[in-house]
Symmetry: C2
Subunit: 406 residues, 2 copies
């Protein structure tokens, strides 16, 4: 874990309310870190409905393989997450460790192993030692409580400098429901994936197929619209649960209401990850308009958001829009150089393919000195638009990653 | 310009021989830098045959537009290159500046403006002030000399810490010929382009169509196989000239011999750019084998070479092969996770999809402590292979780019 807390950390963490039939908690298993909890559980008193989105890496971790395989059952009794070791690229040992962990959890929590979902995050390539997991899982089961969300959020951290939590309450037909989410992630954050680890739970009764539809839809504009360093992890996992406690799943407009709140929670967690991006000192919002399609706009936006030269300019508080032009150019997507327009906040710096005649460097600089920097680029060929979020690239990113493992 | 010279700089620069009918030189035009030459020319006494490869950026600079337009003529009398201002994203002012420069050069050197080739490198988006260019170009014409290659190589530098030159002599049918090349480039270096700026001249008489064929072929495994920071420039230009001085162009086996030497020169210049990569302390060679095709191997190799997490690990002298696994996974190309093999130098660290049973961290660490680090990855699905080159990602890269413009 990094020692310094991100300057973009929230000033306060939300008080996470209890959700009926759901207990969370964590214990110290000594996997890699000393004197901190590193083995977390989410337990459902009755089988929960479940949906998931996972990394698109072609080298997924063993736990991702396991979750994909068992997701079709649509039911979850327990989730087990460890930090400190990713159990990725660990061959047969990796799938054996996963099986042993699921079996130990099934024993400890009195359920089938196929309803246990797993995740591991940390160093890639080192075999995960699961001896002692049976005992530690029993301990975690005893520690798990309705109010254990903070413990859960902290136990899954790796290079994160703060825990990431979000909660909302919402009303459907006069009844109040809750949705709680936690996430971890700081580096190896890139598109084309679900996210790092994130778990979201609601007490609204929703069938697993509907959960999956909503999750797949809203991940695109939240976790799949952020990037810290363009590196996609082997372990990205985002899961959504409905602790329906035997009640009949809702449908129709209730799902629509739920979808909106779900989007809010996913967005809040995704932005918390960007703001805890390794070494981040600035949050950058890149909006591309006037593209050929939304997909094309998204590619251009990511080309800007992943450009080391754009990100270092932001770190240096330099409104260097020339580097934005270069990033648009390398995206390989249709763009009309001679109609392009670029804004930092409300300050238009480029217009019709050249420096704005009213360009005022001081005004543009004032925007990039702030903590939140909106960049807008119109590429002048169509009506497609997209927004993505990233952070700046600083010395601290190098410090964190040049000696993370050793 | 950076003040520190790259630790990977060559110990000595080659003595560049004179090529008959070719003069090069540079003068101080005060475009951005003080007390250094920033306006360079290459002059051909008789029309030279010419070929070129340019950036694939969709926002090319005005000089790139100009060169593309006039390349079809196949003849060159003069090349004019300025550093300090890229004349990119400068709208109509940009194309006017290009036209004025070409006209001034045509006047100064007594040739048609369509046989004048241009390049500008430096800050993007600032109008290039060409007033005074007519006078400065006359000066440059007077300064140009058969031995002016060193001046040329230095005048085109921007964030480069050393000039890049390469020369070879070769024999064809008992006669000795020469090939001289210069290049600049240090940041904004990425694939899908020609290179930054590079000019290569031979006295072997070769027709422009043959020059173009050979250049397009050999750029793929040289300049297009390097990356510093994955950012493609708006101004990348690589040009090849034959100062044939009226002689009949060669054909057949002579072209084959020339192609080999050309490859050597392009490769040497490309590696010089990687070794002068902004902030570089290590040169990394990434070879991918066992891929579905050469193209697929190349994509995987670039995914590794562009990964900030791989590059920071190398900077930290950490043989963190888990990050290589992640970079292979995110490439989106066929790879068999469970047959993958990874080597640092001669040390096999991963085998059959997991840590090598004989893995010796000390031996792997010894490899990454060196200045030149070969990484080999076999992805276990086919026979395609490719090699690309990059450098590490260090604090110095951030320092250079967080305050380049201001």
């Amino acid at each position: 874990m990094a020692s310094k807390i991100s300057p973009l950390a929230p000033e306060a963490y939300p008080a996470m309310p209890a959700i009926e039939g759901v207990r969370t908690g964590a214990v110290e298993a000594g996997i890699k870190y000393k004197n901190r909890k590193d083995l977390a559980v989410i337990l459902f008193d009755k089988p929960a409905e479940v949906a998931g989105v996972f990394t698109r890496s072609l080298c997924p971790s063993a736990p991702v393989d396991w979750c994909r395989k068992h997701l079709s059952g649509g039911k979850a009794n327990a989730v087990v997450i460890n930090s400190g070791n990713a159990n990725a690229f660990t061959g047969k040992k990796g799938s054996e460790a996963v099986k042993l962990t699921a079996e130990a959890a099934a024993d400890a929590f009195g359920c089938k192993k196929s309803t246990v979902f797993l995740a591991s995050t940390g160093v890639i390539g080192e075999p995960l030692n699961t001896s002692g997991f049976a005992e530690k899982l029993s301990e975690a089961g005893s520690a798990a409580a309705a109010g254990g969300w903070d413990d859960l959020a902290r136990a899954i951290m790796t290079t994160d400098t703060y825990p990431k939590m979000s909660t909302r309450s919402f009303e459907i037909e006069g009844k109040t429901y809750l949705i709680n989410g936690v996430a971890k992630g700081s580096g190896m954050i890139a598109p084309d994936m679900a996210t790092m680890l994130s778990y979201v739970v609601t007490d609204l009764p929703v069938a697993s197929e509907d959960l999956q539809k909503l999750l797949s839809k809203h991940v695109e504009t939240t976790f799949n619209a952020i990037t810290v360093d363009s590196d996609t992890s082997t372990s990205d996992t985002l899961m959504l649960f409905s602790a329906r406690n035997g009640r009949k799943p809702v449908s129709g407009s209730a799902l629509k209401t739920f979808g909106k709140v779900l989007h809010e929670v996913l967005h809040e967690l995704a932005i918390l990850i960007v703001r805890d991006g390794e070494g981040a000192t600035k949050q950058v919002e890149v909006t591309v308009t006037g593209a050929k399609s939304a997909k094309s706009a998204r590619r251009i936006a990511f080309s800007i958001a992943n450009s080391p030269l754009v990100k270092t300019a932001i770190a240096g508080e330099d409104a260097n829009w020339g580097r934005i032009v270069a990033a648009v150019g390398k995206a390989g997507e249709p763009a009309d150089r001679d109609r392009m327009e670029i804004q930092f906040g409300d300050i238009r710096v480029a217009h019709k393919g050249e420096r704005d005649p009213d360009y005022d460097e001081a005004a543009a600089s004032a925007v990039v000195k702030k903590e939140f920097i909106p960049i807008r680029v119109d590429v002048g060929v169509g009506r497609g638009s997209a927004t993505v979020w990233t952070c700046d690239l600083t010395h601290e990113y190098i410090s964190i990653n040049a000696d993370y493992r050793s």
